[in-house]
Symmetry: C2
Subunit: 274 residues, 2 copies
């Protein structure tokens, strides 16, 4: 009875989709607020991928090391960078990829030009060679990563945030330790200087000031931004990936390439009604 399994799946799948939980509550110990005069950007940290990097960023944030720092290097369609002078002598060993054992990899696409397979892990876009090998988070828009010199282990406090087309050539070469899940526009609004710099904004008065970097858990509850984040390990989310890959609707008069660029997939956060 070869028809049995597909039919059963067809019958069960809408039920399962309806019952599964689509949103998750992020851990406030894991949410970093980056605040400028334009508002608050919320970064979800990835201690599972980059534990030493995340621990050091939290340590520096708790010292107030980022407060009154600036976004000193802002390049259109590349990155917003800051936190140069927040560091001390602690260097963080490179954490460019991680052991995926025990984690769910929601597969999105094989044959990506920068990774044999792309998908989502704990809400983060990620790549992998094989299920058993190392996995790595991707430089999609909103990715937050540790800056460094030529020495892979030379990163300390300085970080950058991807503000345009994903610079995927940096994948596996940098420690991505978080991603902006809410308030991305605060990052996009960072001053490029006048005329727009293609590197460091030499005139310090033209740089956007980071007023504060603080962990959500260190704020009283009424000062936190109550958000939920869409889960990426649900049947509903997987169905959405298929729709985006196939583009079967009538709008497309020419059939697109049936290739899914994972960095175009939204993983939305929403405010919780209270």
């Amino acid at each position: 009875m070869r028809w049995y399994l597909p039919v059963l799946l067809l019958m069960v799948s809408p039920l399962a989709q309806a019952q599964e939980r689509q949103w998750r509550d992020p851990d406030p110990e894991n949410l970093l607020y980056i605040e400028t005069d334009d508002g608050r950007a919320i970064v979800e940290l990835a201690p599972r991928f980059a534990p030493k990097t995340v621990a050091n960023i939290i340590r520096l944030s708790r010292k107030g090391a980022y407060d009154r720092q600036t976004f000193y290097r802002v390049i259109e369609n590349f990155v917003v960078q800051g936190g140069t002078e927040a560091g001390d002598d602690i260097k963080v060993p490179m954490e460019a990829d991680f052991d995926g054992a025990g984690l769910v990899f929601t597969s999105a696409q094989f044959g990506d030009p920068f990774a044999p397979e792309t998908g989502f892990v704990l809400g983060f876009p990620a790549g992998r060679f094989t299920p058993e090998g190392r996995w790595w988070p991707l430089h999609c828009p909103g990715a937050v990563a540790l800056a460094r010199g030529n020495d892979p282990d030379s990163g300390s406090s300085e970080f950058y945030i991807v503000n345009g087309q994903a610079p995927r050539h940096l994948d596996r070469n940098m420690a991505v330790f978080g991603r902006v899940v809410y308030g991305m526009q605060v990052i996009l609004k960072a001053s490029r200087g006048q005329p727009p710099a293609r590197g460091v904004i030499e005139d310090e008065s033209q740089r956007t000031v980071i007023n504060r970097v603080i962990l959500a858990a260190d704020l009283p509850e009424d000062k936190r931004t109550p958000i939920q984040i869409q889960r990426t390990d649900t049947l509903n989310f997987i169905g959405g990936l298929d729709d985006r890959r196939e583009r079967r609707n009538a709008f497309f008069f020419r059939r697109p390439a049936q290739f899914l660029d994972i960095c175009t997939v939204p993983v939305p956060a929403q405010l919780v009604d209270e």
Copy 2:
């Protein structure tokens, strides 16, 4: 003497690079200013790719049809869209691709997931199947294209601008008729509404107003923004593409994929010193 040609090229190439002109002066008849309270974004139009679309956009701009319109649909990492109510009954037949005869295609990458070959044409990122076939402009960040309904020929006045990771699945399905060459941040600053909408911003008071859309040529010279745009058909530019593809420098402790995502390649504009 098989060594002759390469050696000659090696000798001539730096000379040729030094002598070639790296910047061009765009035609003011071909530059559209989109102005909001955040400033002026400059769009270079592509009449060679989408002549009817460009002519209609210029006609509507000259009527003032876009003035006091809004960006009514703004989606993070996708598009900023406006100009709905600027239209009249004129629909523009689809111009999704064009005949490249007589144009220089500066090749950047073969085997792109969305196009057999990518490169630059007249400063625009473009794709093609073969040199002899049709070519098409790409939905890289800053691309400006005509919105439409399911009917490919239903576009009129409404346009969108890519504000994040390139939605390349729209390539060849839409009429890209320009690209933002300067002032991209004016577009990125467009209000998403509060809380951020993932579609139409229902509360009209939260939309960014387009104060004016005007052709540079229709302004007196002292009201224009004097820009030059980097040429994409020079030896110098081609060398830069190779560097970006190969990433041979010491910063990369793991060799990247040697794949060039064309949408990461900057084609800068700069203010002319006067």
